[in-house]
Symmetry: C2
Subunit: 441 residues, 2 copies
């Protein structure tokens, strides 16, 4: 494979090639830019992209002597447009912030830049990563009539479409796991607060998490390294054979469509066929409150965090977010505290339950990406884990009845992110090989 | 009083005068600028101040027709230099961010600007509002050989010295309540997360809170209005007579010096003399873990939030913050979760206890401001309330053995901020009249 096809590589493969002198950073990004040229007219993954600036970064990186190169030297990454970048505008898909350009790098961006990453551009997002309606300009690369999911729409689509090897997104409800599933890529929502959220505009302080998208777990690991993600102890995971998985269908299982039911059944069969135990585990009844509590936190924190926009330019804020500030749902501060305290009490309990298994297996989505571009899909299977602050990885490999990708989630206790990635890598090999969905370009 | 002495007014008094046509905004800030000219050479409260820009804002505000003026029209406010302002640099008292100028208004600043406030400048802070050593350039206005406290050093000193009527600070440990006490002013640390922290650089996500300084409770109320702070229910407080206070000396009481012991004893006497009940309440033993847990959260979150600076410019970071990232205290993520979950379980309990009283009375500081400028004083009496997320108001009125001001704290359940301010106003009248310390210019 020459540089022409370099867009097909994972970041880990590309970086190895650059390190070995087999490719320049410029050659690599020129391949990606050609892919973007050909494809993005149909996908629309970018809120901001400046090709000259990309090439300028690439040439500067190529001039850095080998001995001074960081671990991510030349890794192109796309950044969701709710995360501040000092060299690109950040508009949150809100007319209030159209062309806004704070000269500030988010903490995540500082870490990536310091490690040698190259910033491809800003990817489309639902308004403030909070609105249920997506950027209608972004289409699922596997079927342009379907949503790429949200709110990290552009990040999921760009990685799924080989326009970027890696992207940052965020998750408050299901905004990293859902587009991971819909676009057929790996995505991780790390433990809440394990990656600095500095410079990510707040939607809900207790829920927002920086997320990562890639087409392989090695690439998620690369970014996890740059973010300093580390577990207290090394993972004891040695392979699927003898591993123990808990299948948690959760209280929202009745919402699961055929695609997800099939994916979960296949996942269980594959794991068992390779020597793992899979035990169906019903979470205690007290966990059934989580979806409602998540919504209460989302809306009541939204009241606080969207108040400035509501005061200054209410008419430019979507009715959903205006409704948070206006307390349309009727939740007062007492309700907020009840939800916050209730969720907090469940966190050590889920750590304890999840800690008994190699990982929890649970749905990522209710089904394959739905038709249409406005509604980004249901986050029912994600919100409880978002509230619980556990790490979650979407693993692709399955498909729905129209052939669209479907992933399933693996979950571990808080701050067991690296263990979870190690498990996801082996699980992913099996699901991608035997799950039924094949990645195509 | 003409405009010449306008710097002596509280913001509420000044705004009433401006509304009545008795003073222009320009006249008001010229008075403050003269005060700053005369005094700041000794106090050093400002990290950034641009007199021409202040006058420019004032003249623009004076041109706004009466019918279009916001509720804070012409209110001069000082902003701690860890809070982003699009029209002034933000340097966090860190050489890493010297002259840094992100074009971004924090949410708190957006709300103030929209309401018509005028920004006097940025006030000095301990490094990232996190270091125990203060900006040695800032002196206590009541005695230049003593610290103004920290980390909101400049905000406390500027308000205590009549250089600004109102200031924003922050609190992670005791950074709003302690400088409130040391400088003889009112200060409120609202309920955590009740005011958007967007645009306040993170030191500890679970602890950082925007704080407000003023020389009267009416002024705290003005800013609380702009911030949209509201309780679920109106306060039932009708006056000191018949009110019930819980005196919580807390587990750190043995650290209290003579000044604080005297202040608390006087406070109790005054409240009882005016018809209030004061009952000494020992918090359950499980609350004794709070100071240690607070420190564990501070250090482990510091590891995450100072990682970017540690990676990029470790040599420019203070040893204390380097130590957080290097885990000098040896706290791992398990310790962090134990502390977080332990604190979370106590929050509904303190709400329940505090809810049985008009307010909790508790020390603000161990004693009057200590000598020297490097160490900003001990936050022992503040950290538990910071961890518990309750609102706290420092009420001045007492003095230490050298005549320096000492305040005491009032505490209420979470999201009872407006009730607490109502109580603090009446309590403050008594403490200021009978506590023994007299404000002088």
């Amino acid at each position: 494979m020459g540089s022409d096809d370099a867009y097909l590589l994972t970041a880990s493969e590309a970086l190895a090639k650059i390190r070995a002198g087999g490719m320049t950073v410029e050659g690599y990004v020129r391949s990606l830019l050609r892919r973007i040229d050909v494809r993005d007219v149909d996908v629309g993954a970018w809120a901001y992209i400046d090709k000259d600036y990309i090439l300028q970064q690439a040439r500067a990186l190529d001039k850095v002597p080998m001995s001074k190169r960081g671990p991510l030297h030349g890794m192109p990454i796309a950044i969701k447009d709710v995360i501040y970048t000092k060299d690109m505008p950040t508009a949150h898909n809100s007319p209030i912030y159209k062309d806004d350009f704070p000269k500030l790098d988010a903490a995540s961006v500082i870490l990536l830049r310091h490690a040698g990453a190259l910033f491809l551009g800003k990817t489309t997002t639902a308004e403030f990563a909070a609105s249920y309606t997506g950027p209608a300009s972004t289409r699922n690369p596997h079927n342009p009539a379907r949503t790429p999911g949200g709110s990290s729409s552009g990040s999921g689509a760009a990685v799924g479409d080989f326009q970027a090897p890696v992207a940052l997104g965020t998750q408050t409800g299901g905004s990293t796991i859902r587009p991971g599933s819909f676009n057929g890529v790996y995505s991780i929502k790390p433990t809440w607060n394990a990656v600095s959220r500095e410079g990510l505009k707040i939607s809900s302080l207790m829920l927002d998490t920086i997320g990562i998208f890639a087409r392989g777990v090695d690439d998620l690991d690369l970014v996890a390294d740059a973010f300093g993600l580390q577990d207290d102890e090394a993972s004891g995971f040695t392979g699927i054979k003898g591993a123990r998985f808990a299948l948690c269908k959760t209280v929202v299982w009745p919402m699961a469509g055929e695609g997800t039911r099939h994916a979960i059944a296949r996942a269980v069969d594959i794991l068992r066929a390779h020597g793992a135990e899979v035990e169906e585990v019903d979470l205690p009844r007290e966990f059934d409150d989580l979806p409602r509590w998540h919504n209460m936190v989302l809306q009541t924190e939204g009241e606080t965090f969207f108040l400035p926009e509501h005061r200054v330019a209410k008419e430019k804020l979507s009715p959903q977010l205006v409704g948070y500030v206006d307390r349309k749902a009727g939740y007062d501060r007492r309700a907020q505290l009840k939800a916050l305290d209730g969720i907090a009490a469940l966190r050590p309990k889920i750590d304890d339950i999840a800690g008994r298994y190699t990982a929890i297996l649970t749905p990522s989505v209710i089904d394959e990406a739905p038709e249409g571009l406005e509604f980004t899909g249901d986050s029912a299977f994600c919100v409880s884990w978002s509230a619980l602050h556990t790490p979650v990885v979407n693993v692709p490999g399955f498909q729905g009845h129209t052939g669209m990708p479907i992933g399933v989630s693996l979950v571990a206790p808080r701050y067991r992110d690296r263990h979870l990635l190690k498990v996801a890598k082996e699980v992913g090999k099996l699901f991608e090989a035997e799950g039924g969905w094949k990645r195509s370009v």
